[in-house]
Amino acid sequence: MTMRGRSFYALVLSGTAAVWNAAAEQRFPPPEFESGHQLPVTTVPPPRALWQEYADVAVLLLCLGLACYFVYRRRSRRSVLWLSIFSLIYFGFYRKGCICPIGAPQNIALGFFDPAYAVPLVVAVFFIAPLLVALFAGRTFCAGVCPHGALQDLLLIKPVKVPTWLETGLSVLPYIYLGTGVFFAAAGSAFVICRYDPFVPFFRLSGGLTMLTVGAGFIVVSMFVGRPYCRFLCPYGALLRLASLVSKWRVRITPDFCTKCRLCEESCPFGAIREPVPPPTNPMELAPDRRRLGLFLIALPALIAVFALIGNRVAAPAALVHPTVALAERYLDPAKPPPPKVPTPDSLALERADHDPASVLSEAARIKRRFSRAGWWFGGWVGLVIGVRLISLTSRPVRTDYEPDRGACFACGRCFMFCPNERVRLGLLSPSELPGTEPARTDTAPVASGDTGKPKTAT
């Protein structure tokens, strides 16, 4: 029997026997045991139960509620910090960072554009709940619930100030990244935001060397630049930023009124605090900005059109991200290598295409058409984002108080304790020790003098 088996092997293995794929085939009849041997059962360890997924949703909602409470009612940085540590442990290390809203826009996009994919309820809630909260209370999700934010927040040791202009200019990046993520998800079912997430390999404590290197890079940068991912890349942060621009409540540095003592000016490591800007004394000052506004408004449609065209062009190489398109291209490549002796995964894929080129090619063509259509929208979106950014830069803000920028503020609560009024509220300082005597609420005069106060502070 042994010999027969061996020669059989030798025959079939004497060359590169490329056997086309087929399911189980009965070559040897299953035995009938005389000893009455019972067949073992194939085990099927279950995935996480549904109730556990809903428990995650409950934890999310609870954390969102707590974050709002800590930021708005308690005004306690310490509580927010502890909440974010909890979130880091729960959503980060326990749930391995793989239940988070950052990648959720992709699932939603795929759900809308791929009829075969249904969005799981949990993902939908994770996508909508923080946005809904942001419409009322700003980015409290970023402050206390997001594990990515918590990790970067904890890593921050010595913040370096990023110039406001750079930050404002680069704030288009998250929108472009969001567009990219949605584009790939809708057109090619690829989740690039998840694929290139820098922190998830750390939550898992494993990952490819490239991703670990990128992640390590982000970690080192996070020690000196506050929340680099949140500020310059996070696609969900881009959505939250939009929502918090129109939020009902906002984080205020001072519990009651601003004395313009300027103590909080440098307190925000994320560069979100804006100084008061008086309304222009001379309307003619605004003339250049108005000209620009007019120009940009006229140019906006052109910008969108040009970028839509670029997006459509770039869709063709982008489609290679999809394995089927890549396979079809390799299959049609006249210079493809001959099949190797020992089949490799790539040669197996080519063999699959060889076996049924019609379905691979038509699938690839279908995906390419989808990419091409989505490319128009993606390009248009990029044009729109940059155009709107340019337009928004022409408007001059009018601020009377030191206040956090609605979009940029992560609601982390760091600035609270820098406000002397807050210290008074907490009873750490007596009102008489306050710098400046008069509340400056309705004051419209520019506070430009450097002599506003040499504050006395307690450590």
Binding site: M1, A24, E25, S395
Partner: protein, 192 residues
């Protein structure tokens, strides 16, 4: 622009605009959620390998974010021929039909071979050792009944949003399945 207004006006006007936008955003989000309802599924989805499409290329062992991979070999005992010369267990041209290292195909010795009765042997997978390389699956598929096949083990799988093995799978064998039916087990021969 706001600057045309006088001192206190900009604030109220901006607040009004903001409130309007918020209501608009809320309505939009509500409408979006309403649209989404038709695309919803109460069940979460998990990744699984369709054994009929699997090409046994070995990428499950190398591409998974977990080390060792969450993909393991499983055995459909009902389809197994209980062969003495199991081509999933033994290397081609085995020296002897015993459990010595030089005769085993499995690189981590994760298959246990047990004598049942003449001439039948039972092969079981030790999943704590299995790395999901699919070498045995290839052997069993090519020369045997194909009763060994690869499956994502859900007690290990992190259920990444984008499975990195799925992306690299040359057979396009990975797909999302509802969590209530998380396995695609082989239960019958396709023909014959």
């Amino acid at each position: 622009m706001a600057d045309q207004e006088k001192t206190s006006a900009p604030v109220t006007r901006r607040d009004f605009l903001r409130q309007g936008s918020r209501v608009a955003a809320l309505t939009g989000l509500g409408g979006f959620a309403g649209l989404l309802v038709s695309k919803l599924k109460s069940e979460t989805l998990v990744w699984q390998i369709d054994p009929a499409k699997c090409l046994r290329c070995g990428r499950c062992a190398t591409e998974c974010v977990l080390k060792p991979s969450a993909v393991k070999c499983v055995h459909a005992f009902a389809l197994c021929g209980y062969c003495e010369l199991c081509t999933g267990y033994f290397v081609p041209e085995p020296n002897e039909l015993n459990t010595a290292a030089e005769n085993q195909l499995c690189p981590v010795s994760a298959i246990k071979r047990r004598w049942i009765e003449d001439p039948y042997y039972e092969y079981t997978i030790d999943e704590t050792l299995c790395i999901g390389c699919g070498k045995c699956v290839e052997g069993c598929h090519r020369f045997g009944n194909g009763s060994l096949f690869l499956q994502v083990r859900h007690n290990l799988c992190l259920n990444c949003n984008e499975c990195s093995i799925a992306r690299a799978c040359p057979g396009d064998a990975f797909r999302r399945v509802p969590v209530s039916q998380p396995y695609l087990l082989k239960t019958s021969y396709s023909h014959g």
